[in-house]
Amino acid sequence: MQQQNRLRPFFENITFDRDDNEMILNFGPQHPSAHGQLRLMLHLQQEMIVKAHPDVGYLHRGMEKMAENMIYNEFMPTTDRMDYIASSSNNYGFALAVEKLIGLEVPRRAKVIRMMLLEMNRLMSHLFWLATTALDIGAMTVFLFAFREREYMMDLIEDYCGARLTHASIRIGGVPLDIPSNFITDLKTFLDKLPANIKDYEDLLDSNRIWRMRMENVGVITKEMAVSWGCTGPMLRASGVAWDIRKEEPYELYDEVDFKVPFSDKGDNFARYRIYMEEMRQSAHILYQVIDMYEETVKNNQTQLMAHAPKYISAPKLDIMTQNYSLMQHFVLVTQGMRPPVGEVYIPTESPKGELGFFINSQGGPYPYRLKLRAPSFWHTGILTDLLPGHYIPDVVSIIGTTNIVFGEVDR
């Protein structure tokens, strides 16, 4: 009765009668420190890894296929499910790509709110990274501290868009809502406390003997390796390349704000940890400036939140409810969807994890002909193939921790 294709353990790479001491360890896909559904097949000599083979795809939902069967606005909530730790940054990447395809100019107030959301998401993502990595290494206190701060951020985001994790907070052409009245005050309260909080984490970790031993000189990625593997974001900056898309190819209003790009030439886990900490400080610095920019738009009475492009973007609610033609256009845009011009874009943005790119090939229809999601974590997982050999089993946990991979994004 046993069928050929019945579910059985998959011993594909294993030869049982080998004369060496190599052992094969299956790490995951349900390992608590794998940060998702990562399966690693590790070939071990004693405790040392000699070959690593990451296996992904356990969370594959076929987002690119879904995108080809959806109108553009319909796809927006789906992007939330990529990097679900910082979903607004995915929303933004997609919105920006479609805007570039259409050639839309977003109103300033919307840009400012988007910047605010993006940096808040970066903070949330970095805090989450710190919490989970510290927990993996054994620093329970840092986990609790960082989650407490992240909770404030999530409450703020909830005040803005009603959702805590899957925000869908950005629309193609702008943002759906203005920020609520208490938002700036709450954000400022949080930001004023943040430096002391970051100092708390650092006091707990920087001189912690265990933390340093598990982080320093572990998981060293050379510059050549990082560039060749397509590493971006903190992974690239920790390996000696000061490349931040916000700085080098500024989008939104990043050319108007002042911030530094922290980088290190060490390339090890500790360097990446330091970069995440510094980036949190820089994000807070950007947020203060963005708050000023927001108050300026209030003073100048720039209240427009969505771009004016009747062919692609619905008119404001007031117009829809009062003007017949706006209502008709809105109806067509909701039922049929916008039809961007024929063409192709690849738009990279700096998400908290690295370069998040959206490649869209439009054939003038309401559905994208081809949409490719370039998710940074995909390559940050791939690099484990070359990075893990030579390390010991406990290092695997700290290395996976500092790569900051999120499987919603790896598998898409």
Binding site: V56, E64, E68, G230, E248, Y346, G365
Partner: protein, 268 residues
């Protein structure tokens, strides 16, 4: 007569199309309008045949012959500073002219420029691997094979990456339906219970939007649950839900819907 549906592209189609609508184009600029791109293009042209080149949305797009892909990318990496392959994949044009379009999205951090190298291959043609030049191509090429079935020569480990190893069919082809094909709907049943259980279990319902109100076996009646196997008539009595095993758990009271109260007053 049944309406004809094309079999070579089964993706969603707009239900309304204006016959006289002419889609606008995303503007293309001449490569000469940007010095850096013009120099890069000249360097490529000196060694390889360039079929077409233009700038679109601030990035240069260069069409080359598929056989030159390794050479062009090597030139870009070693001489023109395009050190990172950000992304590569394919576009399915099988319905149009039986071809795949392969694109390589390159980044030069020194010049702060991005270019896209593109080439066409026929349906059964293989493309050369660029994994020797860029390690990132290792996984991208596997993904491209996994999604489109585009074969890649000289790849060290050409296996599926996102789909299971024993999957049949290539999901991103335009001929592949969104809900999956027949193989997909039997895959889990065959794998977990065996082929002989097909008649008992039935095919997997892969249309996520489908709700069958007469199905009392497969959780198709969310919010209106009935005991398993009940014949649905439309006016069956409401079954209280008990979210716990018979006998209960130590220290935990069994939830009884009959006795539960819905609190409307928050101060209670």
């Amino acid at each position: 007569m049944r309406a004809y549906t094309p079999k070579d592209d089964v993706q969603a189609k707009p239900y309304y199309t204006d016959r006289f609508y002419v889609a606008p184009q995303v503007p293309k600029q001449d490569v000469e309008s940007d010095e850096l791109f013009a120099a890069d293009l000249a360097a490529i042209k000196a060694k390889f045949e360039v079929l077409e080149a233009y700038i679109q949305v601030e990035q240069m797009v260069v069409y080359i012959n598929a056989k030159d892909n390794y050479g062009v990318l090597e030139l870009l990496r070693d001489e023109l500073e395009y050190t990172q392959l950000s992304e590569m994949s394919a576009i399915d044009w099988l319905a149009k002219n039986n071809q795949f379009e392969i694109f390589y999205q390159m980044l030069s951090m020194g010049k702060r420029k991005r270019i896209r190298i593109k080439c066409f291959i026929d349906k059964d043609e293989a493309v050369n691997s660029v994994e020797k030049l860029f390690r990132s191509a290792d996984w991208s090429e596997r993904e491209m094979y996994d999604m489109f079935g585009v074969k890649v020569n000289n790849h060290p480990f050409m296996k599926r990456i996102l789909m299971p190893y024993d999957w049949e069919g290539f999901p991103l082809l335009k001929t592949y339906p969104l809900e999956g094909d027949e193989f997909a709907q039997w895959y889990e049943v065959d794998k977990i219970y065996g082929k002989e259980a097909r008649d008992i279990i039935g095919a997997e319902i892969r249309d996520t939007a489908r709700v069958d109100r007469y199905d009392s076996e497969r959780f198709g009646r969310l919010g209106h649950e009935v005991p398993k196997g009940t014949k649905i008539t439309g006016n069956e009595p409401k079954t209280p839900l008990a979210y716990q095993e018979e006998g209960g758990v130590f220290m935990i009271d069994r939830f009884d819907e009959e006795k539960s109260v819905i609190i409307t007053d928050r101060d209670r």
